[in-house]
């Protein structure tokens, strides 16, 4: 208690960390310099830090998650480098533990989730013909909480020491006896902070989709991506509170010596595994269902066909979301649950393959006899089908409880979940990024570079992860930092590492593509650069901040496609413009996240005074919000007219 500085407040002794320290300081100094030199501080504050525009919030999510894909990817490459050959000592065991923990945690919480949230923010209100999300202020709070949590997690390896108990953070390994010091506290508090933001996002999008659709857009006329986000929001609302509780209980165990997960006082370490995976398995669907939604949009757009089996797609998602809450024990078949329990969870897990199979066939039938155009987003979508098939089939293999005793925690598992997470979620995110890019920025990413990046990344991905199935079956277990010669593992590992570097090159091409296309990318003058089917393509690119000058009326699925087929204007298109009600910007969400960060940082080091100051700051921000009444303004008709005609619209 009280103020004590841990021995190594700044982590020392590790050359790689010194390099990271220097790079971080240089990056921050660079950012400050550029902002000051070009006098951009006010712009940054007015346009971005205080924004409540869902499109800008979406872009901030995307930037953050691309950065985190880079950071997590470097971690992946470090691990793959260490494993390339037997008996390497580039990383020591402790450092390796920290890296795979950081890698897994960052990829799931700070890359995949925010990437999905970013695309949701960009596309959903536009797809349903709405001018905003239901709670724009709350939306900004969600983003900044994610951001504060992400920053808190990312400073761990430089200040105080990184967590090292794996992204699953199992007790008792993560308890205060075996893991004293701030590392695990970082994990717990940063995920807690960003998790609250995620829950709020789920609530926000559920209400947005249920209550703010354009007239005529019944549930069964919603674009598939919006459907997937609706289902995802429901899963978030049911799953995240469980994570909140799990994290809080372990935090209390560590900080205040309670006994939820310690054997000593009668606690139950398996309780962590259960709570964690009751959240954790649905989490997999939180990140993969929206990716499915994206594939559905992209495939029907570029096959120029209505999505095959729309109703079946919807119902299969509903079934998946329900069953996803009944499978969590498959993550610990080997931890002594008994045959009856294992059988139940084995069967429920396999059951998910059925609705998932339905979806795969629907995509295939949508492609069948379509006029397929292989744009970059379409390549990612089509490339997803075989990788996901491999990931899914090996998933069913893992679901066979007795067999799982063989594969459990081996590289077979590592390969399986990367096939699903990379081949499903990351491919989906990238498809969505290329697809909606013109809508966000008004220009297209270069197609030729996009294809190069796709092929390098896709081939690299398979080269990296396919061999791991074999080396897994040969007995190489997960989280091994090195291995001896002569086990026959070396060629597999070496090939795998080569594949990882190919993916890295693919990523770099993607980044280069962005920089290149800012200047040279094809400009989107029509707002409908892909000849799209859904409402977001009916407005100019980038979308004006009020989205729709007139709220569209919808009478079918693929509303915009049908509007394009009709030559005559619809009555609603001729209605006079009216002033539009918009929420005001606010700096408070950003400031509140700083207080959260302070509270989290204090509690990480068990400096309670600092934790309390931070929480009081949070409370004060909430109080200010409670007293806020005038938080919107009107955009007048003449301004709308000016904006619309500047975008080339009558």
């Amino acid at each position: 208690m009280g103020f004590h500085l841990p021995k190594n407040f700044f982590v020392t002794g590790e050359p790689m960390i010194y390099v990271a320290d220097v790079l971080s300081v240089l990056t921050i100094a660079g950012i400050v310099f550029v902002l000051t030199y070009y006098k951009k501080w006010k712009w940054l504050w007015d346009e971005w830090l205080t924004t409540v525009d869902h499109k800008k919030i979406g872009i901030m999510y995307l930037i953050s998650s691309l950065l985190m894909l880079f950071r997590g990817g470097i971690d992946g490459l470090l691990m793959r480098t260490q494993l390339a050959l037997p008996n390497l000592h580039i990383l020591d065991a402790e450092h390796y533990n920290q890296i795979f923990t950081a890698h897994g945690t960052i990829m799931i919480f700070f890359m995949a989730m925010p990437f999905i949230f970013g695309l949701m923010n960009v596309a959903v209100p536009l797809q349903i013909g709405a001018r905003d999300v239901a709670f724009p202020y709350l939306n900004a709070v969600s983003f900044w909480l994610f951001f504060a949590g992400c920053m808190l997690f990312n400073i761990a390896f430089m200040i105080g020491g990184a967590p090292d108990a794996g992204w699953t953070n199992y007790t008792p390994l993560a308890g205060s006896d075996l893991a004293p010091g701030p590392g695990i506290n970082y994990y717990l508090l940063s995920l807690q902070i960003s998790g609250i933001g995620s829950l709020m996002t789920g609530i926000n999008f559920l209400v947005t989709i249920l209550k703010m659709r354009a007239p005529g857009m019944t549930l069964m006329r919603m674009p598939m991506f919006t459907w997937s986000v609706l289902i995802t929001s429901i899963i978030i609302i049911f799953a995240f509170p469980v994570l909140t509780v799990a994290l809080a209980l372990l935090t209390i165990d560590r900080l205040f010596g309670s006994h939820f997960f310690t054997i000593a006082g009668g606690g139950e370490p398996m309780m962590w595994a259960n709570l964690f995976w009751i959240w954790g398995h649905p989490e997999v669907y939180i990140v993969v269902l929206p990716a499915f939604g994206i594939f559905s949009e992209v495939i029907s757009t570029f096959a120029r066909k209505r999505l095959f089996g729309y109703g079946a797609m919807v119902y299969s998602m509903v079934v998946i979301s329900a069953v996803s809450f009944l499978t969590w024990v498959h993550h610990f078949f080997t931890m002594g649950a008994g045959p009856a329990v294992n059988s139940f969870f084995s069967i429920s897990t396999m059951a998910i393959a059925i609705p998932t199979g339905v979806k795969v066939f629907n995509w295939l039938f949508t492609l069948y006899k379509g006029r397929i155009e292989f744009t970059t987003p379409m390549l990612w979508a089509v490339g997803f089908i075989p990788t996901f098939l491999i990931g899914g089939l090996t998933g069913v293999m893992l679901a066979v409880a007795p067999a799982d005793y063989q594969y459990h925690n081996s590289y077979f598992l590592i390969s399986h979940f990367h096939y699903v997470l990379v081949g499903g979620t990351v491919f989906g995110c990238l498809a969505g990024l290329y697809y909606w890019w013109p809508k966000m920025f008004g220009f297209k990413l270069d197609e030729r570079q996009g294809k190069w990046a796709f092929w390098l990344f896709n081939i690299g991905f398979n080269v990296c992860f396919f061999p791991q199935y074999f080396v897994g079956l040969m007995g190489m277990t997960r989280r091994m930092y090195t291995y001896p010669e002569g086990l026959g593992w070396t060629p597999y590992n070496f090939i795998s590492t080569v594949g990882a570097y190919m993916m890295g090159v693919g990523f770099l091409i993607m980044v280069y593509n962005i920089l290149y296309s800012v200047r040279h990318g094809e400009r989107d003058l029509t707002g409908d650069i892909w000849n799209g089917r859904t409402l977001e393509w009916s407005i100019s690119s980038p979308a004006p901040h009020y989205n729709f000058a007139r709220i569209p009326e919808v009478d079918d699925l693929d509303a915009w496609w049908h509007m394009k087929q009709r030559k005559r204007k619809q009555p609603w298109e001729l209605r006079p413009l009216k002033p539009i009600h918009m929420p005001n910007n606010s700096g408070r969400p950003f400031i509140m996240s700083i207080w959260f960060f302070i509270a989290g940082f204090g509690l990480v080091f068990e400096w309670y005074w600092m934790g309390i100051i931070g929480l009081l700051g949070v409370l004060y921000c909430m109080l200010k919000r409670s007293f806020e009444y005038d938080d919107h303004h009107y955009i007048q008709v003449d301004e709308i007219e000016r904006t619309e005609s500047a975008a080339g619209r009558a």
């Binding site: 139950e268 009600h581 409670s626």
Partner: protein, 210 residues
């Protein structure tokens, strides 16, 4: 549905059939959003209940529920909290009549009952700690303090929140915006009561019965 057609934030489309707190689109969205939030709160408490029930028998040689709980004490707490839910309901009724005085009166009664509930709970906790029944003593006690304490923290936050809203009511009178705030804090209060009924049965009654 007609609401779907409404697209602006907080546009005051007064419809005579709707109660004041539902009269703007913003209010309807926020009330619905709050219901969804309560759904998430149910999951949160359900997880805490599950944890408590798993750990309830694990006293590690420390005091058991039967030894600790006093029927008289938790009955008092229960009666006070249930009454506060009733008075809060009367406050909502006063809201329907747009009576500022009525709302203030019943909500202040609710606040006072809430405060005495918290007072009793704090006394109860201090008493236990005095007997060596601390959160560090056993898994059962960890589960107990965190479950009941989380509820107590919610009630305390509710008291603070309700106070703020009453101040706004005094400042601004009964408007569409204050009506919504009054209504939502009322929902929250009733929700905490429902949770308490589960605590009363699953923690206290079962604790003294077995």
């Amino acid at each position: 549905m007609a609401e779907h057609a409404l697209q602006t934030h907080g546009k005051s489309t007064e419809k005579s059939a709707l109660p004041l707190e539902y009269s703007t689109e913003e209010s309807r969205l926020k009330i619905f959003g709050f219901w969804v939030f309560l759904g998430a709160e149910i999951v949160l408490f359900a997880s805490l209940f599950a944890t408590y029930l798993v750990l309830a028998g694990r006293t590690a040689g420390g005091p058991t529920a039967k030894e600790l709980f006093e029927v008289k004490d938790f009955m008092m707490e229960t009666i006070i909290l249930l009454t506060s839910s009733f008075t809060c309901g009367l406050g909502t009724l006063a809201l329907r009549n747009r009576s500022k005085g009525g709302i203030l009166f019943w909500y202040i009664v609710t606040l006072l009952l809430g405060l005495s509930f918290i007072g009793l709970e704090v006394t109860e906790f201090i008493h236990y700690v005095g007997e060596g029944a601390t959160i560090q003593r056993s898994a059962f006690l960890s589960g107990f303090f965190i479950l009941v304490g989380t509820h107590g923290a919610h009630v305390s936050l509710g008291i603070l929140w309700m106070t703020l809203i009453l101040i706004q009511l005094i400042q601004r009178g009964v408007t569409a915006a204050t009506a919504r705030r009054v209504f939502i804090v009322g929902l929250y209060w009733h929700f905490l009561d429902v949770v308490w009924i589960f605590i009363f049965t699953l923690v206290y009654l079962m604790g003294v019965a077995y």
